[in-house]
Amino acid sequence: MDFAFTQDQIELRDGVRAFLEGTHGPEVLRRLDAEGGRDPAIWRGLVEMGLTGLIVPEAQGGLGLGLVEAALVAVELGRADVSEPIVDTALIAPRLIADEAQLAAIASGKLKVALAHPVNPWVADADQAGLVLGGAATRERLESADPLRRLFAVERAEADAVMLDLAALMAAAQLVGASERMLTLATEYAKDREQFGQPIGAFQAIKHHLASVAVALEFARPVLWRAAYALDHGHARAPIHVSHAKLAATDAAMLAAETAIQVHGAMGYTYEVDLHYWMKRAWALAGAWGDRAFHLRRLDDAVIGGAMAIGPDQTFETGMQHG
């Protein structure tokens, strides 16, 4: 039992973070916003970083890593508001595909994959995808509040439970990353912006708003890691843990977003500060891959419905008799 990341995991996270900080700042978001949202150069960079091969087996040219590593990367993608179809293609699809040629094409960055599922009224980035798993999309574009999302209407979709859990987990991870970024943006703004002869961050009301976000985030993270580990190891309770992670991450993100805009004041209500990109992404991911009510119902069935043993000895699988 060890809840600390390994040195390799930390290096992976730090490497991806440094890469995205260097190549995918807010100015990139503004450019993409003006130009239509996607840029082959960004995709190439992600491929060169090795991210497309992250969880593809080594035999197909990937790194063969697990879902904890994938979720660590998804947090960073959320923090940087990356909009290329890297999560669907590289962090979810490889677990849904058996075809070795397709896996190799994903690892090499040549194949982009889109995901269809009846919980979503859209398929993201269907136009660029060489493969749509779980259904098909039309050419009809659906406009999102998030200017960097490219959504297409669903033509048909079958419910794939494995896809749903993987995608909900990765949405939770991106929400955690986006929340961390919103907290950082609001904190930096509060240090700089002066009113009444003080940085507004000196006022207790602002401090306490931001501290509450920090609390929500701190306690969403370990829920995410348990879910990633459990799903990776095929635990029976993994779907419940994933729903818990999506719920905790959604609640933290909605709090982070409303707090961050409040701290930014009227500036937060403009397109001129960077905040809005992450806020809109948070709204989108909150509803994607099962909304709050969907995941809450899964927890409710488990906890109140009694489908799962609960109590202090049930934090992890113990191998002991329930009772």
């Binding site: 859209w122 959504l151 004041g265 209500y269 403009t270 409710d300």
Partner: protein, 386 residues
């Protein structure tokens, strides 16, 4: 306390209802925050004025009907019951109008109020500056007296509707040596005057309802000043009181939104969370509470009372109820919440949620309002005063 309408009040309600049913556009107008929508809303203002409904509480001499606040509430209830559009000239009619009524000269009243009630001149606020948002006393834009004129230079920002409006009103520093609340004057400026530059600011939703206004030696007559030179802060505080107080956020608006939320819940309840159900009932209950409180305040004002720091209670309540109501709607929309259009129709819940996020910020942030409540209503000490 007599919580029943008189027959005359009932007849008035019937009159408003009949007019609204005949005139309110059948389809929602495009958003007020963009050019097309703004123009459509101005056209609606003129339709309203054609029925003499522009500002029912104002004296007939200024284009009103001279009605009391209870009838105003009845008017508003029927207005929102009919699904009538937002008021394009809300900065004028709800903020500047009452300010001129209280502080203006007869000449100013005649000159400015009637065109407002008639929907002929649209107004923008010009309060905030880049470094004077919540801290309005930090204003730096200056108006230098030159004969019968002021020459105005400086910059205002986050000016609602300034991209489309005809005139602006705001505070300017008329005493260059002054600091903070002193030496400010309340001045009206035509936005097509030489030296005025408007730079639209794109808002959260992508539209440009906000703008920056740059003043480069803009010359306006001193007759455009409301109240005395250097008395601007008191005038502005009164305006801010109107903003937080009775009229700007008519309760009927939230009651109408709560009714739509109930309908949304009924459509989507199979997929809703348990707490969403309670949140829907609570949104309705709070909209009712806000309406009841407005009747209470209206009755108090009609009996000669004034609204003081209680306006801050009001502003917190409506802005937080509006945000919670729309947050609940977003949660009921689920995966469709992010879409700008659903089934070929504009996603008004998304628009409404975005708009509701501005509520706790503008007209004095809710943090400032809580300070006001604590210090002025509860009598708690200022920091450092102990």
């Amino acid at each position: 306390m007599e919580l029943a309408y008189t027959p005359e009040q009932q007849a008035f309600r019937a009159e408003v209802r009949a007019w609204m049913e005949a005139h309110v556009p059948k389809e929602p107008l495009p958003t007020l925050e963009g050019r097309t929508g703004f123009d459509a809303h101005v056209a609606w203002e003129r339709t309203l004025a054609s029925g003499n409904w522009g500002m029912v509480t104002w004296p007939e001499a200024y284009g009103g009907r001279g009605l009391d606040l209870i009838r105003w509430l009845i008017f508003e209830e029927e207005y929102y019951r009919a699904g009538a559009p937002l008021r394009a000239n809300q900065n004028g009619i709800f903020l500047l109008g009452p300010t001129i009524m209280e502080f203006g000269t007869d000449q100013q009243k005649a000159r400015f109020l009637t065109p407002m009630a008639k929907g002929e001149v649209m107004w923008a606020q010009a309060w905030s500056e880049p470094n004077a948002g919540s801290d309005m006393a930090a204003i730096r834009s200056r108006a230098v007296r030159d004969g019968d004129d002021y020459v105005i230079s400086g910059q205002k920002t986050w000016s609602s509707r300034a991209a489309f409006a005809d005139w602006g009103f705001g505070l300017f520093r008329t005493d260059a040596e002054s600091k903070r609340h002193k030496g400010l004057s309340f001045i009206l400026v035509p936005l097509d005057a030489p030296g005025v530059t408007i730079r639209p600011i794109r808002q959260l939703h992508g539209e440009t309802g906000f703008a920056e206004i740059f003043f480069d030696e803009v010359r306006v007559p001193a007759a455009n000043r409301i109240a005395g030179e250097g008395e601007g802060w008191n005038v502005a505080m009164a305006t801010a009181g109107f903003e937080r107080g009775l009229m700007l956020r008519s309760p009927a608006r939230f009651q109408a939104a709560a009714k739509r939320l109930v309908e949304l819940y009924r459509e989507r309840q199979a997929d809703a969370s348990p707490a969403a159900r309670e949140a829907v009932v609570k949104a309705w209950a709070e909209a009712e509470a806000y309406a009841l409180n407005t009747y209470k305040v209206a009755s108090t004002v009609m009996a000669g009372g004034r609204i003081g720091a209680e306006a801050s209670l009001n502003k917190i309540f409506w802005s937080e109820l509006d945000r919670a109501l729309h947050r609940t709607a977003m949660s009921l929309m689920g995966a469709a919440a992010e879409l700008k259009a659903v089934g070929g129709r504009v996603n008004q819940w998304l628009e409404g949620y975005i708009f509701s996020l501005s509520g706790p910020i503008y007209a004095g942030s809710n943090e400032i309002q809580r300070n006001i409540i604590a210090e002025r209503l509860l009598g708690l000490p200022r920091m450092g005063a102990g």
